[in-house]
Homo-oligomer: 373 residues x 4
């Protein structure tokens, strides 16, 4: 089959993570359709060329509108600041291209709805990469096996600490206009996507949103500050459609935690707990164990590969963050062939956006709101 020609828009941290996924997917998933790194787009030609050289992209382009309509392009991958997602994804879909988009899907619900509608006609996918941490995949499988029985509670936190750091350069993540929101879209979106993958839709919620430092020193402009109009922390109490009670916290002010995305599931027959800080293991309790030796188990998750080679890196040889992108891409490519599209699709990204919007509404109105899911 002909290779899939990719145009990627964006070349920051995610541009590297995606480049690596495009380069590596065929190595770890040898059966998937070949992917060709055709063109990388962005505004800064020098930056683009450095990335293209290091990661073997055939070409660079500074006009994304041209790139997404080129006849030699099959797939458009978007890893730009959030506020650009909608326009780009819709243009690509309208040009008949497959569309992959970084999370959160959009700056707001209206955009997300338009994107999901436009993308309905083409294969589409959102990079909620934490779904593909092997330990999260294991947790999902154990839940699907019914090992926990009825689920009572779900608790998830995404803890980062860079919020108060005065040396951190100002960037697009610090403005509502460019990011849509703060931790709600950046971190809470991951929590919500994982939660709904594991336990189904969230029906209603009550949220609090906080900006600890509305005015922040600008390291590029000594003596000056800039206003911050996005959220530094979000707390959510939620009820899933299944009746499960949920609680969520996302924050950039959790001093002590670089990047801990964690969750726990408590059920009548057991418990599961995950911390991204220890990403190759999961904690599991089987409530039915002999009480004399019952306890939380540290289970090492197998690294996931293609059928027939499930353990490319043998279990016990840790894999890293980058594999969540490689495996996400593999899912998308497998879904293309199988006719069973990989999740999360733009529809899934839209569902997350509904929850994010409900978080803002609830925080604003200081009461419970329905998500519409």
């Amino acid at each position: 089959m002909a290779p899939l020609n990719v145009a990627m828009i964006g070349y920051g941290f995610m541009g590297k993570a995606h480049s690596n996924a495009f380069a590596q997917v065929g190595h770890f998933y040898p059966g998937v359709r070949e992917v060709r790194r055709r063109v990388v787009c962005g505004r800064n030609r020098a930056g683009l060329e450095a990335l293209a050289r290091a990661w073997e992209w055939d070409e660079v382009e500074t006009d994304w509108r041209h790139a997404v309509t080129r006849p030699d392009i099959d797939l458009v991958d978007i890893c730009t600041p959030n506020y650009l997602h909608a326009e780009m994804a819709i243009a690509a879909a309208e040009a008949g291209k497959m569309v992959l988009c970084e999370k959160p899907l959009a700056n707001n619900l209206a955009e997300a709805e338009a994107m999901a509608e436009a993308a309905a006609r083409v294969p589409n996918f959102v990079w909620f990469n934490y779904r593909r941490v092997p330990a999260v995949v294991l947790a999902r499988r154990l839940l699907e096996q019914g090992r926990l029985g009825r689920i009572y509670q779900y608790r998830a936190q995404y803890l980062q600490q860079w919020g108060p750091d005065p040396t951190r350069p100002r960037n697009w993540k610090m403005s509502k206009q460019t990011a849509g929101s703060g931790v709600n879209g950046d971190l809470n979106s991951h929590l919500i996507d994982t939660a709904m993958m594991l336990l189904g839709p969230i029906r209603e919620l009550s949220a609090t949103v906080e900006t600890f430092l509305p005015e922040k020193a600008d390291p590029a402009n000594p003596g000056h500050t800039y206003r911050i109009d996005i959220d530094d922390a979000v707390l959510v109490q939620a009820r899933f459609a299944s009746g499960v009670l949920g609680s969520f916290e996302a924050t950039r002010f959790a001093t002590g935690y670089l990047n801990d995305n964690n969750f726990a599931v408590h059920g009548e027959r057991g418990m599961l707990e995950f911390h991204f800080e220890d990403m190759n293991r999961i904690e599991y309790t089987d409530a039915g164990d002999d009480p004399e030796v019952r306890g939380r188990r540290k289970v090492v998750a197998p690294a996931l590969g293609p059928p027939g080679d499930p353990h490319f890196w043998k279990t016990g040889h840790p894999i890293g963050y980058e594999h969540t992108f490689i495996s996400s891409l593999a899912d998308f490519l497998v879904g293309l062939e199988s006719g069973d599209p990989a999740r999360p699709t733009f529809e899934d990204g839209l569902a997350v956006q509904r929850v994010l919007e409900a978080v803002e509404a609830s925080a604003d109105q200081r009461r419970w709101v329905e998500t519409g899911l």
Copy 2:
């Protein structure tokens, strides 16, 4: 000085914990006033006699009203089911006795107010024993030293797992009439007391309360169930008067956790985290550390003794749960002499009760409420 003659009402698990504290306080705090185990009261004479024999109480009594007015009694210690606290504490205070009372102070706010008023005339104390975990004392000292700078967030959880256990015998903790509430009074009260000790009053909150199993099998009555009218889990979002953002969770449905009372404090200059499962240590991050070697530290807390012998059990030789009661009692006795009454007093217990009442009101009305603090 003459010994303090004690009448203790109640002889269950807390009756043992208090007996041990009365027996041991003079050993670990040799300077304090002598305490004499005069009389233990309750309804079941056989049970009382067994406790009295094991723990060397001089006498047993089955009429608590008589016990609390005996002229030879100086101090009444109450460790009965919650619904009895108010009546007993008020009677004791009116008889001019010092009063110590198990937590939560009362079944509801009205009772707690009456108790605080009655006890105002006598030395009084509430057994929020987790204040006196050495690692919690260390956390408090580090906060008072200002090591964390401005505090942004506080997070606390009390996780137990016995809720769904079908073999668990029905007891007074499972009924609103006798317990006032479920985990709100039983577990959340500890979280709230510790939080307000560390960070001052909670001003407003938004809470969710859940009963997962409103009908439960009665192991003593095979084939029959009983109704449960108390809360199995409580979630709280809160704002302290100081502006700190708080989140709390108390639950008996956290499969995997026997008894983990934990908290984390995130500030601009550092972090503190405590888990009762690892009760002799605290995690501490100093954000000002050399970045090359910055990380969460496991700090072993010194066991606390009297002035001049701070490390009765040398640091590194773990002490247990029982010492939280011994040291609480020592605080009370030291406060008696010094004229600076030990905390938490009934006034502190009343403040906790205001928060617990606000939790119920908020959950009921599905909106934020003020605590009045």
Copy 3:
């Protein structure tokens, strides 16, 4: 039955730990014979009186020879520096008294042999208290149940860090004359006793002994140093009679570790691991678990009480170091009544001493030696 009248010789850290055990044993083990704290002996009257006051000893004595022959004394408990054990224990046994002795049993093998011989006629016991950590008791039970199948390897470490501390006062533990050895007797003796309790006798070994700082600053004598003639660290490779391969390390130079006494047992069907730093839990792996959820389990050990009340402090409510002494004493008292003497006896202490002596011989000769066990 008449109470057992105790004379305790020594009043340092162990004097306190034993006083507590004598005071508490009846509380946690209500069925055992009553113990009476009759007389505490030592050289410093003021120190003795302070201890006697705090811990309610009836009398103090500065002449231990008189104390151990008093007709009103039934049991002599020895917690003096090692070099005094033999003389005191033999005198007490010859006076027909029961004898309890701190570990290591003696300064050397010859003394230990004489002690075991003298004590053969009276009830006797050695305070190897780590046997009675609840998690160690659990490990032993799981081994006896055969859960690990054939045992391949045993590994144990006792890590402390105070060796290089220049502020540490000089004391009897730093001299061969008074302590017999350094970490070999002080720490390795615990490792060896636990190992042989769990897996039977050690048949042969190869050891290395190290003194890192043969000259140390004397904080009491600024500008002066003193010579250290004892071992700071010991490494042992060993073979048990059962064929198990063992390795041991005891050191006071393990910067970072206050007091971590740990061991691991690897067998064909599972693994057990213990760390005194987390003394209420044990790690357990069942190699027969479903591979999908196999992993090391953190099992909380139940606090051990008398028959019928196994969980005085409910599981999940940590107990501390002091309970290892209380339970050791309870074992001794139960053994008195049952006719099945509690272990470890002086014979067990002598077996440990044979291993310690073999460690020194092996280190000296730089080759493997037989222990004679």
Copy 4:
């Protein structure tokens, strides 16, 4: 500069790990000389072709002798069973090729000496990949900074559990003829290489070697067993030339541990500890910290990239085992250009082999032996 044309011999687990390193090194270290995957050699053409397809090797060859002398080949990479290393490496070096070789360098000391001699004329390198775990690199840097002061003790373990697994297929690692030794060469070699990188040469040692199951069931041949003539476990006591006391353990019989390569360094001013199970962090104690907050720190190691882009994957985003190979290769390539050859060279591999040989001699003679280093 012209790309380096590589011939790799071997296509098992290490063949994949090396292929990945060759494919990725230019992505993460964009400045290094380009590497071209020219030819992969081995005996099984089908296996070779599958690897070549998945990892984009230009060609396959079944005659390694031809491959290593082809004029279009610059570098020969050897990842075959140990017993083939010497012949292949010497042939490649004699043909003037650069040589990279998997560890351990050889089946025995004589081979290693011949290899080091032959390779002296060409760039050479041994894949002791654990040197390049970022946390190990951090440990090394902290040691070089003198943060630990005088070092007293070093302790290292390599714990695997597959030894007793009856379903494990028989392979070349289970025979002295093909592997040279068991865990001594397979696992202990890693421990020794890391130790000597961190602390310099080991001068003398005393070792024990054990084969727990000399006869093992052959899963491919039900009802039959095969003899095992290699070591299942190795214990070593050692003294470094610097005077540091070392202890080492390598075993495949550590039930409960999939792959834990760990070490601890104790010095007068601090401690470092590493566990490969938690490969992105290191524990560090600064003995000079304020005692009130002193404790073992969990320090997250930065992922290492080229100068100017040290954190390709931002700190807090774990990287995996595969990066140890990528960075090792980058070191070699940088060393080529700089004229300061990367370590470990064949000379370093030979030094490790001297220690491994001393381990066998000591175990055989049951006494201490010099390593000759």
